[in-house]
């Protein structure tokens, strides 16, 4: 993720209303009107928040002119939250063990200090 994108993401997340909107969208896509209901805010105020979230890539909006459903597009969040991370972690751990195993094989001709990390 680029620094600019990361800044946009964090700026978008730094507001409790916007985080509440994301939490609501985690349940599924919905309309702006529905989204606005629990917040006691005007539709334009909600729209403004949605624009910030959209620019940060955290939500996506439908194309329908009248009913522009919002849905979560959590790609930026996935950088941290993703279960795909579990696969990566599995690999990292396995490759660590491979390194241990290879070092064992080379005992007593143990060599250190060439490791790139």
């Amino acid at each position: 993720m680029s620094a600019g994108q990361l800044n946009a993401t964090f700026a978008a997340l730094a507001d409790p209303t916007r985080r509440a909107i994301l939490a609501r969208l985690a349940n599924g896509e919905t309309s702006v009107t529905e989204l606005a209901e629990p917040f006691e805010m005007s539709l334009p105020a909600i729209s403004k928040h949605l624009k910030v979230l959209e620019r940060a890539g955290l939500i996506a909006r439908g194309r329908e002119a009248q009913w522009r459903p919002c849905r979560l597009a959590p790609q930026p969040l996935r950088e941290v939250a993703d279960w795909v991370e579990q696969y990566r972690r599995f690999w990292e751990q396995s490759l660590d063990r491979l390194g241990d195993y290879l070092r064992e094989l080379q005992v007593p001709e143990k060599k250190h200090g060439r490791k790139k990390t």
């Binding site: 997340l13 939250a81 696969y87 396995s94 063990r97 491979l98 195993y101 290879l102 490791k115």
Partner: protein, 162 residues
């Protein structure tokens, strides 16, 4: 595609997610030795799927193009995971390509293509693992995207409030 289940296609929770990641490592061992750690059954058992927590139930290993490798094991919480792979391409000491799928309690949760590249680096080896996968709706049961996102938002909430 013979085993397609007559599931409700419009059912919520049917999701696909594509992802690719690359991991690079350097080892102080020549490519011949590193490659052997992938190609030899005993050697591979020493490091792959050898986690202390995960109790191995079954292991099969047939290292040749068209051959399969299977691992099945049980986690402390009782959950059974199975890894089932098919070797697609093997070039000795240079690369291994295999496709595999993962199951949790009998349910397919991902299908991936893994490419392992071995490159001589001085007296050592540069290893590159590239995984390209499609992660299926098992995701929602296994970890839950919603729960994951919610948990993250909760943490962010707490962090930003403090």
């Amino acid at each position: 595609m013979a085993a397609k289940k007559p599931s409700a296609p419009a059912m919520a929770g049917r999701t696909v997610q594509h992802a690719t990641f690359v991991i690079e490592r350097t080892y102080d061992a020549p490519p011949s030795l590193v490659f052997k750690a992938w190609a030899d059954e005993e050697a591979k058992a020493r490091w792959f799927g050898a986690s202390g927590e995960w109790q191995l139930i079954n292991r099969e290993f047939d290292f040749r193009v068209g051959g399969r490798e299977r691992l099945k094991g049980r986690w402390p919480n009782g959950r059974i995971t199975a890894f089932d792979s098919l070797y697609q391409d093997i070039v000795t000491e240079q690369r291994i390509v295999y496709s595999y799928d993962m199951h949790i309690d009998g349910k397919r949760i991902s299908v991936s293509l893994a490419t392992i590249e071995f490159k001589p680096l001085g007296a050592g080896t540069g290893l590159t693992v590239t995984e390209q996968g499609v992660f299926l709706d098992g995701y929602d049961d296994a970890g839950s995207r919603e729960q994951g996102t919610r948990a993250l938002l909760d943490k962010l909430d707490a962090a930003l409030r403090s």
